[in-house]
């Protein structure tokens, strides 16, 4: 009985426990199914939800690449600057925090303090307290150890030479984006790639781990600019513009053989370190953005077309009497009412006869004139280095009427930029090739230096035409309108230009664009220089009076600085081929091999003899050395009594001379004032 009772009890229990087991089994199956659902099927979605609440992504700015001049001197670099930010939700007392922050920043006005306090009070998740604070400010704020105040590194752009090459370099905004100039054009290259910092935060928004994807530093740009030359150009342009009482001016120095821009200056200028304090007039890169009617400098194009097309020979005679020419109701006069009478083709350019140029232009004809305007590079943006460049305004050949041909022949009714003019003049200087002007010499990235190749756009004129034009332009400087551009010891080719500005839709009789274009030394051109001055008022407004002297001073200083040997026994102005840039690969075959080569190689790098400096004062001795591109160490004062290397010794560029000086009765005018 006990047994059966026990068995009955067990049977019931077993039956019920099986039910219980089934319940547990079903329950655990449900839990496992749910685990699979959440962890396998919902995994992605829940993970992204988790990341959304746990992760804060902060961009780690990449170090912006440096900008160097052609010799590796730094024109722009970036420094890490601490930006101070606040997380208002973590700040209990915004007023107190704002006060403390202002105290530490040390330079905030009561208004700024008020503003800061309000911004913190608004309870957004992120506000900047101060962007790109100075190291001292950052340190003082850090010392406060305020809850909810943080730091992040940002790039701050620094231009050590202040306004040097400001228009060319441009400037960078607070967000590390180039806003103008090279900084904007090559922004994507220089900027690098920002890394990211993934900050994992706990539910109270406290960061506890960071995963960093390192930023890639931006590329370093090596410009074609020569910092010293740039400085000279800026100095002379400023002096010239101020002397002439002009509204502004531009100057471009280009290497005619390579198309490299060696200097590009505008005045007025600005300091890119504090670009916001300057207005648009200061920041505008006139040399590439401003169109001007070139006036007589453009006659080179007309002449080039005529010579190339063999319409006229350089010694052809052209009658310019009676000093005026009529197109319907329009009468074009010679400048100042001259009547030059019978002129040679060369004389037309040398004297800058309007009537003569018009006659030449008419002989060339609209189709060919329009064609040559384009072949010299006018009417289209010349360089991808300047995205803001004006393409200029030129006539379509088919629309050129006689009157328009007349205007274009003497440089009116076309709009060009100083940069385009520099490229066109370089064409003459280098034997007829139109090269793309460029500012970037090389891009250095990941330890690799990639040279930007010379780029030939096309051939404007033949080498012989270029040589003929050079000869004409030399005469302009020798005994024409450009005498003010003469440089002792060097042959100079140039052309003046004076163009009435259009004011209120009429040609003004008081506002002129005066320019001088040319290249030196003309037989072995090293520099193509364009100087354009806008509206000179204090002096007679002519290219020959205002721009030519500026050109002269720039060219003189540049030649001296480069140590260019003076032109002695100048070779005939036939042609010139300077191929000293071995890194450059010719982009076109035949065009690069000039027909006639009278001079090859360069004086640079060659050796010359060391002068005898004994008896000279320190200043004169140094000037002599500078002319040779040398530097010297000086001991003592007075006049030179001893020198190494010895007089007549072989010198090497880049070596340093040592001079010993002693006080003695000066035999020559020591310390005479500079002329």
């Amino acid at each position: 009985m006990a047994d059966t009772s026990a068995n009955a009890w067990r049977t019931t229990l077993k039956r019920r426990l099986v039910v219980a087991a089934a319940v547990f089994f079903a329950w655990s199956t449900a839990i496992e199914a749910r685990l699979v659902y959440l962890q396998v099927f919902q995994h992605e979605e829940l993970l992204s939800r988790a990341e959304r609440q746990q992760m804060r992504t902060v961009a780690a700015p990449a170090k912006r690449g440096e900008i160097l001049d052609r010799a590796g001197r730094v024109l722009a670099y970036s420094v890490d600057a601490e930006s101070i930010y606040a997380v208002p939700t973590e700040i209990d007392d915004p007023g107190k925090a704002a006060n403390a922050l202002c105290e530490a920043l040390d330079d905030c006005a009561p208004k700024e303090r008020q503003l800061l306090s309000e911004r913190i009070r608004k309870g957004r998740s992120f506000v900047y307290v101060r962007r790109q604070a100075s190291p001292d400010q950052a340190r003082r704020v850090a010392e406060l150890q305020l809850e909810g105040v943080g730091f992040m590194k940002e790039n701050r752009r620094f231009y050590p030479n202040k306004d040097l090459a400001a228009h060319l370099l441009g400037y960078v905004g607070l967000d590390n984006t180039g806003l103008s100039g090279i900084e904007a054009t090559y922004d994507s290259l220089i900027k690098g790639h920002a890394g990211t910092v993934l900050i994992q935060t706990d539910a109270r928004r406290h960061a506890f781990s960071r995963t960093e994807k390192l930023p890639t530093a931006g590329a370093t740009l090596e410009l074609t600019i020569d910092q010293y030359l740039q400085h000279i150009v800026e100095r002379e342009l400023r002096a010239g513009v101020e002397w002439a009482g002009a509204a502004g001016g531009s100057a471009v120095v280009m290497d005619p053989a390579s198309g490299e821009i060696l200097a590009l200056a505008n005045y007025p200028t600005f300091n890119p370190n504090s670009y916001r304090q300057f207005d648009n007039n200061d920041r505008r890169n006139r040399a590439i953005q401003d169109l001007y009617e070139p006036g007589s400098t453009f006659k080179i194009v007309t002449a080039g077309a005529a010579l190339e097309e063999k319409v006229l020979a350089p010694d052809a005679l052209i009658e310019t009497s009676p000093g005026r020419i009529r197109f319907g109701s329009r009468v074009v006069d010679e400048d100042k009412g001259h009547n030059y009478g019978l002129l040679t083709f060369t004389g037309v350019i040398v004297k800058s006869s309007n009537v003569g140029a018009i006659k030449i232009g008419l002989r060339v004809g609209p189709q060919r004139l329009g064609d040559y305007v384009k072949r010299f590079g006018f009417g289209r943006a010349s360089s991808p280095d300047f995205p803001g460049e004006s393409p200029g305004i030129v006539w379509a050949s088919s629309k050129l009427t006689d009157s328009a041909v007349a205007s274009v022949s003497m440089g009116y009714q076309v709009g060009v930029t100083p940069l385009q003019m520099a490229a066109a003049m370089s064409t003459v200087a280098n034997g007829g090739e139109l090269l793309q002007p460029r500012v970037v010499r090389a891009v250095v990235r990941d330890g690799k230096r990639m040279l930007v190749p010379r780029k030939v756009v096309g051939r404007a004129v033949s080498t012989s035409t270029a040589a003929e034009l050079t000869a004409i332009m030399e005469q302009v400087v020798e005994d024409g309108t450009g005498k003010a551009a003469r440089i002792a010891g060097y042959t100079v080719a140039g052309k003046t230009g004076t163009a009435q500005k259009v004011v209120n839709r009429r040609y003004s009789n008081s506002e002129y664009n005066v320019s001088f274009v040319g290249f030196v030394p003309s037989r072995k051109p090293q520099y193509t220089i364009v100087v354009v001055v806008d509206s000179p008022h204090k002096v007679p407004p002519y290219g020959g009076t205002v721009s030519a002297p500026i050109f002269q001073r720039i060219a003189d200083a540049a030649l001296r600085q480069a140590g260019t040997a003076p032109t002695i026994n100048a070779p005939p102005p036939l042609l010139v081929a300077r191929r000293d840039d071995v890194n450059e690969q010719p982009t076109t075959g035949a065009a690069d091999v000039p027909a006639i080569v009278t001079l090859a190689g360069s004086s640079q790098g060659s050796t010359s003899l060391f002068p005898d400096l004994r008896g000279l004062g320190a200043r004169d001795a140094l000037r002599s050395l500078t002319r040779l591109g040398l530097t010297a160490r000086i001991h003592g004062d007075g006049v030179v009594v001893q020198q190494t290397p010895a007089p007549g010794g072989v010198i090497d560029r880049g070596s340093q001379a040592t001079l010993w000086l002693k006080r003695q009765t000066p035999e020559r005018g020591v310390n005479e004032p500079e002329p």
Partner: protein
């Protein structure tokens, strides 16, 4: 009388595994929280380890005490008296998070409701053994249970600790069910309980809100849905292999109680579905071995005690995991043997010791 002094090794292993996992996971879940709150990263894990050592010692002792020692009315009543006293006493303790559940004894929190479970299991087993033959005579068999258990549940509800009260009721119900109470009574009581449950839920707004949050946590993701959403996110981010031990993020103040009620979510996040399933399997093993012991127990008392203790662990574990996974509304129930909590761990290990002792006494006829 068949008597084998061989206890259930599988059950013992599963228990030990869970306790070991508990120490690891409590450390992982609590280190940063402890560091932030008390500047001591090892605070919780040290306590848990101490309790675990104590608990395993207690398990080793109870494993060796013949379970029939407890088949003593005086002992059981004394125990119940002590439990009642503590449950009343705890109502005068300092509230923690708005509830009064713990005594503080020498820096360790003691939770009387944990002891209440053991007391109830023993008491119910005692009554059922004696009155099982007239189980369907409610006044005879169930009345004493209803009075005692009801009283204790009432005291626990005063703390308030709805989760523990419910699990206690479930444990007792399971024992009564196994004793053979007719199904009609269960159906009837469920029908009666529904309106009562509704009233209980409605009476405390926080319970209602929790219930609503369970239905649709995304409706109020920053309010009542927050806990469950954070828990789901934790489990979901774990994926198959998990983020790696200690590598979880959700425990950093996203999860409300990472080292106690939501430790399973931390397991899910850090050890993935593999780790979470491992824990689930351990509890399934405990349930299976527990039911097996209950079936094979030498006598009725052993059977019912075994069932009660097993259910106590299993029901709590399953409820906790269901809550973590959003299958049930949020309740403050820890995961037995895993969650941080000294008295809970101690009592559960004590229970397991008793269960292991019962496993040593197998009935020959039960095979």
């Amino acid at each position: 009388m068949a008597r084998k002094l061989k206890s259930d090794r599988v059950l013992f292993t599963a228990t030990l595994l869970l306790v070991c996992a508990s120490i690891v996971m409590v450390y992982s879940a609590s280190a940063l929280v402890a560091l932030e709150r008390f500047q001591q990263p090892y605070l919780f894990v040290t306590k848990q380890a101490l309790w675990a050592v104590l608990g395993i010692a207690v398990l080793a002792i109870t494993m060796r005490i013949d379970y029939r020692t407890y088949r003593n009315e005086k002992f059981v009543w004394a125990l119940l008296g002590l439990v009642a006293l503590m449950l009343v006493g705890v109502l005068f303790s300092r509230p923690v998070n708005g509830t009064r559940r713990w005594f503080s004894v020498a820096g360790f929190g003691v939770q009387p409701s944990e002891l209440a479970k053991i007391g109830c299991v023993l008491f119910t087993a005692l009554i059922l053994e004696k009155r099982r033959h007239r189980i369907d005579d409610l006044a005879y068999s169930l009345m004493p249970i209803a009075i005692v258990v009801g009283g204790l549940v009432g005291l626990i509800l005063l703390q308030p600790d709805f989760g523990t009260a419910m699990s206690l009721l479930l444990v007792v119900a399971m024992m009564v069910f196994a004793a053979g109470l007719h199904y009609k009574y269960f159906i009837g009581s469920v029908l009666c309980a529904l309106p009562a449950l509704y009233l209980v839920l409605v009476s405390a707004p926080y319970r209602r809100r929790r219930l609503m949050a369970f239905w649709d946590p995304w409706a109020d993701p920053l309010g009542d849905g927050f806990q469950i959403i954070q828990s789901l996110i934790a489990v979901g981010t774990g994926g198959v292999f998990g983020r790696g031990l200690m590598a979880g993020v959700q425990k950093l103040f996203y999860l409300p109680e990472p080292h106690t009620d939501f430790i399973f979510a931390v397991v899910g996040e850090e050890l993935g579905i593999i780790g979470a399933s491992g824990i689930l399997i351990c509890f399934c093993v405990i349930a299976w071995r527990g039911l097996r012991i209950s079936m094979r127990a030498e006598d009725t008392f052993g059977s019912f005690v075994a069932l009660g203790l097993t259910t106590m662990i299993a029901v709590q574990a399953f409820v906790n995991m269901s809550v973590v996974l959003g299958l049930m509304p949020t309740k403050g129930i820890p995961l037995p043997l895993m969650s941080f909590g000294g008295s809970s761990l101690l009592m559960n290990l004590l229970g397991m010791g008793v269960l292991l002792n019962i496993s040593q006494h197998e009935s020959a006829e039960a095979r």
